[in-house]
């Protein structure tokens, strides 16, 4: 006995180790199952461990058989000690039998599993048929097999060489219940699907053949063993489920036949409860899944007809009840069942969805822009290089640049693969949970409404459905959110890494090109110098007189030649006209008109002319011969309007006071060509746009200050549209754009043509039509 006990203890130690090992194995299997791609190294490793466990087991079996054969009689003899009571004896005998049965059935079951794995699963796996997914058929049958082997070995350890009075079976189950539940949960969970998959496989001739081939070989073995009870694949697959349902029955029986004084009694009680729990949990899990599947399927593949046919009174009343309930909750803060975990997860879920969607959108947009921008930039660099260097100087840049272009394409494909594809895939997973969340809400409303009316059975059902749905959602949403968050984070990290790599590539590409560094200021200096040279070059060319003129007009410079030949109308001319012509003959230019033909004259807006003849030499009445006081020439009649001092004043005031902005803009425009100095500067500054820009800025600023003061003195600030030369002491000379303060809008005799103005401390009369209203223009 002594050495046996020692081995027993030793076994206990190894047993514990094995258990730990088993747990880790279990997770491995789970993981492997979820992997879509079965890594060859993983499966190799896996089969290795499997083999090891098998050899372990066979070794154990041998040992076991050695011990079992004598022990059977021996233990019976031992239980029948004379001190035991009769009742106790009977119970113990029954107990003995049950334990035996337990072990025997477990052994058979294990044998079945082993055969199944060896004859069906492994060959099918080795065949590697693409359409045949062995994993989905048998899910984790290998781990089922292992846990069964473990259980058997534990059971045997607990019974072998142990006094029947000391045999503690319950402890074995309690020890193993964690992995047991986990493994069977997975198997049962997948079983329904496996069934439907099996059905679909059996419809395909080729796959069916493979399956039946395996079954045949298995049947042969069974026949040899004298157990012709195997029917088909389905019965093979359901075996673990049948087995797990048997445990509670066996344990219950065992407990009932165990005297309460027996040390195993309590343990068995606990074990029975634990095993029952396992079954309940598995059932609940399956139920939840069925429920989820039911509602998930709801909307898929459903035509309008189907929907209409489903629309019956029951569903309508259900829907309307939900709506009213929802309203009630909204309006009256009706007490309702709340699940904070769920709410948190749902919020997270929605936020995740939004983020992922936005990320996909923004990142692909950004990618598109990068794809646009990088080649364009490289292209323009190459083009600039082409014109900056002689073709003979081979710089060898184009190669590096095309390399950079390639890496840009690489970047795009990487981005697509590493970020956009996973994110899009992730995004496509969101609608399913969405639908269920909605369904959960509906169920919650149902549940609430029943709660209020406290309708017993219905309320129970609704509550159960809601709870199942809620539990499933809470559990899986958590997993979902975690995984989704991880993917999102990964993608963002990848994005940053990719950007970094892209930047590095671009930097290297450009760095190989870089010549001597130059300062920005020196660049513009050099360039201005070169440009000046070039322009001098052209100027030399343009020494021919005709060329200058044409060239200038081509460059859109203002035709300056008009000015010398056509001086502006002065007041002398004006008064001469007024005195020599009658009022009917006097006209005024409505707007600026430029000479277009020979003998045409230029007029500025407001200039006074006397019409000599209302037609031109060719007899056309659209051009009139007019006298401006110093020249005579032709003007289009459409530019003229009859001269009427009173009316003009009115129009002027209208223009000045009502239509200020527009008027002043036109005044500005019309005045421009007339002012030599201003046009001069602005033209010259075209060549150097930056300086002219700052110049205009300066002007705007001064205008701004003018506006301020203008507001203080009301509307009496005007500015000189044209320069005006005083002819006497009464008049005031004006510079163009000079600001004047108007003291009175008429002269002493009431003539509104002349205004009393004040500028720089001097007072005097100025012609009203020389002035423009100062506005913020």
């Amino acid at each position: 006995m002594e050495p046996k006990e020692a081995t027993g203890k030793e076994n206990m130690v190894t047993k514990k180790k094995n258990l730990a090992f088993l747990r880790s194995r279990l997770y491995m299997l789970e993981r492997r199952k979820t992997d879509t791609v079965v890594d060859s190294s993983v499966s190799g490793d896996h089969s290795g461990t499997l083999r090891r466990s098998q050899s372990d087991r066979t070794e154990y079996n041998q040992k076991l058989q050695e011990k079992m054969t004598p022990q059977g009689e021996c233990s019976v003899a031992e239980t029948l000690t004379p001190e035991e009571e009769h009742q106790m004896k009977r119970m113990m005998a029954k107990r003995e039998k049950i334990i035996k049965e337990l072990i025997q059935t477990e052994k058979d079951y294990l044998n079945d599993l082993e055969l199944c794995v060896r004859e069906v699963v492994q060959p099918l796996r080795n065949k590697k048929i693409d359409r045949l997914d062995v994993d989905s058929l048998f899910s984790n049958i290998e781990s089922v097999h292992q846990i069964s082997a473990k259980l058997l070995s534990l059971l045997e350890e607990a019974t072998t060489d142990v006094e029947p009075a000391m045999q503690v079976i319950g402890e074995v189950f309690l020890q193993i219940k964690g992995p047991l539940e986990d493994i069977y949960k997975i198997y049962c969970y997948q079983h329904d699907e496996a069934r439907s998959i099996l059905e679909s496989y059996e419809k395909e001739e080729e796959l069916k053949e493979h399956l039946s081939h395996c079954i045949q070989s298995l049947k042969k073995i069974y026949m040899q063993e004298g157990k012709p009870n195997l029917l088909d694949m389905g019965s093979l697959m359901i075996k673990p489920i049948q087995r797990v349902m048997k445990y509670p029955l066996l344990l219950c029986e065992l407990r009932n036949s165990t005297p309460p004084s027996h040390p195993d009694y309590r343990a068995l009680d606990d074990a029975f409860a634990a095993v029952k729990d396992i079954n309940v949990n598995i059932n609940e899990l399956k139920r939840r899944k069925d429920l989820v599947l039911k509602y998930k399927k709801n909307d898929e593949d459903e035509s309008l007809k189907d929907k209409l046919s489903k629309l019956n009174i029951h569903s309508i009343s259900k829907k309307s009840k939900r709506v009213t309930n929802h309203l009630k909750i909204l309006t009256r803060g009706e007490s309702q069942v709340k699940d904070n975990t769920f709410n948190r997860e749902e919020k997270l879920f929605r936020a995740l969805e939004k983020t992922v969607r936005l990320c996909v959108k923004n990142i692909s947009l950004c990618l598109q822009h990068i794809q646009d921008a990088m080649p364009l930039a490289l292209q323009s660099v190459m083009d600039l290089q082409e014109i900056s260097y002689n073709k003979d100087d081979e710089m060898g840049y184009s190669e590096t640049l095309s390399n950079a272009l390639n890496s840009c394409h690489d970047f795009a494909s990487h981005l697509q693969r590493l970020i956009l594809t996973p994110l899009s895939a992730l995004l496509s997973l969101f609608p399913g949970p969405h639908k269920l969340i909605q369904k959960r809400y509906d169920k919650l409303l149902d549940c609430n409404s029943y709660l209020q009316r406290s309708a017993g059975e219905e309320s129970d059902l609704a509550k159960k459905e809601y709870e199942a749905l809620n539990a499933q959602l809470v559990e899986e949403l958590q997993a979902f959110n975690q995984a989704a968050r991880k993917i999102l984070l990964n993608c963002l990290c990848s994005f940053i890494t990719l950007l970094r790599d892209l930047m590095l590539v671009a930097q290297q590409a450009y760095s190989t090109l870089v010549p001597v560094p130059l300062l920005v200021s020196s660049i513009s200096e050099i360039q201005n110098q070169v440009l000046e040279e070039v322009q001098n070059l052209n100027c030399v060319k343009e020494n021919s007189a005709t060329f200058i003129e044409r060239k200038l007009s081509f460059e859109k410079k203002k035709p300056v030649q008009i000015l010398p030949e056509m001086p502006r109308q002065t007041d002398i001319h004006r008064s001469k006209l007024l005195s020599t012509y009658s009022a009917e003959e006097l006209y005024q230019a409505k707007r600026k008109c430029n000479a277009t033909q020979e003998y045409d004259i230029n007029l500025l807006e407001g200039e006074l002319v006397a019409v000599i003849e209302q037609k031109d030499p060719l007899g056309s009445t659209s051009r009139w011969l007019v006298d401006t006081g110093n020249v005579k020439g032709y003007v289009y009649s459409s530019f003229l309007k009859p001269y009427n001092p009173a009316k003009m004043q009115k129009v002027d005031t209208e223009n000045r006071f009502c239509d200020d902005d527009f008027e002043n803009i036109s005044l500005f425009v019309s005045s421009r060509p007339a002012s030599d100095s201003v046009t001069g500067t602005s033209e010259s500054s075209i060549g150097d746009s930056s300086s002219s820009l700052s110049g205009t800025c300066g002007k705007f600023e001064t205008n701004g200050t003018d506006v301020d003061s203008f507001q203080e003195v009301d509307e009496q600030i005007f500015y000189a549209v044209h320069a005006f030369q005083a002819r006497s002491d009464h008049e005031l000379s004006l510079q163009e754009y000079q600001r004047v303060h108007i003291l009175r809008f008429c002269d002493l005799s009431g003539n509104k043509e002349w205004w009393l103005a004040e500028a720089q401390g001097q007072k005097g009369y100025v012609p009203a039509n020389y002035l423009g209203k100062m506005t913020y223009a």
Binding site: E300, I363, P431, I487, Q507, L518, V534
Partner: protein, 253 residues
């Protein structure tokens, strides 16, 4: 110049030597090509800088949208990461803007200025062409009178025509000579003119990209667990995705 193109037995006198005409065509052709190139380049640069700006704007939008999401409120890790990303993106945008400004100043504007010279060149060439036409017309007139019998009035007219011809010919020759001499110089000036632009463009890009590389390099170091390669992440994503697909709440098609 006669308007009957093929006068047999009367080889027309070539008033402009063929070699001169060829030289002129070649030089002017080069300049025309250069004009086309600068115009195209100016357009392309504009497009390129616009695209650059659009790129960095869209990049900023990525992080902004992330930042404004309620997701970040609860998730401290994510928040710090997104904030860092946002900072990086904004810096990228700022640097990009700077780069574009620089390019605008040192490349696009010089291109524009250089391009503004071409109209006068074209005009000069046009004037030369006109002068050539005049020259040919008058030359033909002179030739016509030369072929005629040398009577008194004809001689007088010939003399008059020759008198008319001389200034026109001189004008043309001056223009021609000037252009022939100056076009290569103009063409050559582009090298000195554009090389600084080119260098500046390259430098702007290098500065920008090295800065970007630094920013994103720092960011990756700040955010990333070391030793996480793209492949690892890809695998992890795959695993997570299939994990998700295995969930019963996810619709599997």
């Amino acid at each position: 110049m006669s308007w009957i193109p093929f006068k047999i037995g009367q080889p027309k006198k070539q008033i402009v030597p063929k070699t001169v005409e060829r030289d002129f065509e070649r030089e002017y052709g080069k300049l025309q090509q250069l004009e086309e190139q600068t115009r195209k380049l100016q357009k392309d640069m504009k497009k390129s800088t616009d695209a650059d700006l659009a790129m960095s704007k869209s990049a900023v939008k990525i992080s902004l949208d992330l930042l404004s999401n309620p997701l970040c409120e609860q998730d401290q890790d994510l928040l710090s990461m997104v904030t860092a990303l946002d900072t990086a993106m904004k810096r990228m945008d700022a640097f990009n803007q700077e780069k574009v400004n620089q390019i605008q100043k040192t490349v696009i504007e010089p291109l524009k200025k250089f391009g503004s010279v071409f109209p006068s060149l074209n005009m000069a060439v046009k004037r030369r062409e006109q002068a050539l036409q005049d020259y040919r017309r008058l030359q033909a007139k002179v030739e016509k009178y030369e072929e005629k019998e040398k009577t008194g009035p004809v001689l007088a007219k010939l003399h008059q025509a020759r008198e008319e011809l001389r200034p026109v010919r001189e004008d043309f020759e001056a223009k021609n000579r000037q252009l022939l001499e100056e076009m290569p110089r103009f063409y050559g000036s582009r090298l000195d003119y554009f090389q600084p632009s080119f260098e500046s463009l390259i430098r702007a890009q290098v500065v920008y990209y090295s800065e970007m590389h630094k920013i994103f390099g720092d960011l990756t170091q700040q955010l990333d667990q070391p030793g996480h390669s793209d492949e690892q992440r890809e695998r992890e994503n795959e695993a997570k995705l299939s994990e998700l697909r295995a969930l019963s709440i996810v619709a599997d098609d």
